[in-house]
Symmetry: C2
Subunit: 341 residues, 2 copies
């Protein structure tokens, strides 16, 4: 049996592998500490496109092409695309899908969309179902700013806890075809609301869901943080990392130790690049995973990671109506298959 349930919503996976990945990022992300790990760095935010929304589609489309090229695959080898983004009605993902016209499953859990896609694809691959999936996520700083906050022209001041939506896309090929990296297990997250109300502090909104999912995953699998080389959240940022450490220790009596890292915290040089709390957006964890972490797993520098992308669930309208901001996080464990195993 290829899937085996452990605990409430955790599943062990067999026979699903992580193939090639690709990450394309914007200029600011390309000036950060992870620059060497991305497949392509744009020289600007995509000013050659008629809109930032179009630029975001191109960012996604480029990462898809690179991932397929690296895999020696064409679109016809892709059985299903599972993807999501942050823009209203998923226009990045769905408009990009016009050009490839492959079977398409749109997913949304805000900045956790990439791990929702990885989890879903891992559950449907093999067993007679699709055998190759392209999992995608993207975001663009300027399209997100004007949708969620203010047009940049306004020059408003950012609060210290605000995160910086990354201009980034990440694409991963998941397949039943054997490779060095296999999908080991996953946990589907649940929506938790601790009453956060500040869209300029999404770390506080997401940290409870991140810790809930991490702790439930470790418990269900009978693991501790020692099992992993890295436990990687999506975009908790600098404040969120500290918050998650405290929450895990005090509410759940679980130590996450030195293993806890965060894609949003790693993507930028936070002080130098003036991004306050760190990076965010579906493209943040998708890009950092598809670039940095996947490559480090391939090279053997890392052996096992747990990726826990985190999503803050709100819309500008829900915020204006005084609603709180719930969070969600989905986890997926990827293991490097050592020789002889």
């Amino acid at each position: 049996m290829a899937v085996q349930r452990s605990g409430e919503s955790s599943y062990q996976i067999e026979g699903v592998y992580l193939g090639q990945t690709a990450a394309v990022v914007g200029p600011k992300e390309g000036e950060g500490p992870l620059a060497d790990w991305f497949d392509r760095i744009w020289p600007d935010e995509g000013t050659r496109y008629p809109s930032y929304e179009k630029a975001e589609q191109a960012l996604l489309s480029e990462a898809e092409s690179i991932a397929l090229d690296k895999s020696n695959m064409t679109w016809s080898d892709v059985d299903v695309v599972v993807g999501g983004d942050l823009l209203d009605q998923l226009i990045t993902t769905n408009f990009d899908a016009r050009s490839h016209s492959r079977p398409m499953l749109g997913v949304f859990s805000a900045c956790a969309s990439f791990t929702e896609g990885l989890a879903l694809a891992s559950l449907i691959l093999g067993q007679g179902g699709p055998s190759t999936a392209l999992v995608t996520a993207a975001s663009h700083h300027l399209s997100a700013e004007r949708q969620f906050r203010f047009p940049l022209e306004l020059g408003y001041q950012r609060s210290p806890t605000a995160s910086w939506t990354a201009t980034a896309s990440g694409v991963a090929v998941l397949s039943t075809r054997r490779s060095d990296l296999r999908i080991d297990s996953l946990t589907i997250g649940r929506v938790l609301d601790w009453g956060s109300h500040d869209p300029n502090d999404m770390a506080s909104a997401m940290a409870p869901a991140a810790v809930d999912t991490m702790v439930r995953h470790l418990e269900a699998m009978g693991e501790t943080q020692a099992h992993y080389d890295a436990i990687v959240t999506g975009d908790l940022g600098r404040f969120g990392l500290t918050l998650a450490q405290h929450l895990a220790a005090e509410e759940y009596h679980v130590s996450l130790g030195e293993k806890l890292q965060d894609c949003g915290e790693m993507l930028y040089d936070i002080q130098q690049q003036d991004v306050h709390n760190g990076g965010s957006g579906p493209g943040c964890s998708a890009g950092v995973f598809s670039g940095y972490f996947a490559e480090n797993l391939r090279s053997g520098r890392l052996h096992r990671i747990l990726l826990v992308a985190t999503g803050a669930l709100f819309s500008p309208k829900s915020y204006q109506q005084g609603e709180s901001i719930p969070g969600i996080a989905h986890a997926i464990a990827i293991t490097r298959q050592e020789e002889g195993q």
Copy 2:
């Protein structure tokens, strides 16, 4: 093997059953020809709630409770919720999920979200994965109008091809537990763009995708329309039905005959209720299926139906930017298990 692939993106399913369903609708929908088939009809559009967005959440929440009650289930029996809606950032689905806190997979393919959910759930149930899923979709006329078109207070005139976003929710329990109705097969749709630009004529945007999915499903399964008692689109409406018939006949040489019906066309008395093209919204097909069609399958009046919900993929911003409106449609076949089978 519980899933078997046929054709490019069609899958035969074994061991997944449709359990109880529930539909809750607004007052206008309750005055339509299908009134007797809904579980609950609201006396108004939800004026007791502080906002129409809150009303939409309640509409969904009520249908979920009714479906669980009918099933003698509690929330803890639900392994995963797969749901979607039309509001920016899926706030209906995700905010409702705060109250049940079950593992949540948010999906989006506009008004095709309900069949995307049914298809996804059918692919992940059993085989060691989750064994019970709640598939949900909802929409509210007034929250959709002010998001996509104009606030109602403006009193603008509707064009003849405009559809009426339904105030409706539909919830279906899918499970590995044997019941009379089984999920037979499904086809994952692809995004097609025939260059439609008019958000007041979504039928033209969606009909190509609907026909593409229907024809590919029939071909992959080696079926004709004669195999089904009804082939049911989501919200093509009156014009879309005619368009789909013509497209199928002229572009694909496939006759859909008298079998083609449309949830949006059936939900209202189009002339009397002044809804122009008919109903739309994710709640339209979800409600009409969960009420009318599921009940008619249970009673044996219908034996086999193919539900093909249709989605028009655009956002107000993409429209304002001059983008076209692509469409998508996912299909799912449900069969009544006759005695002795």
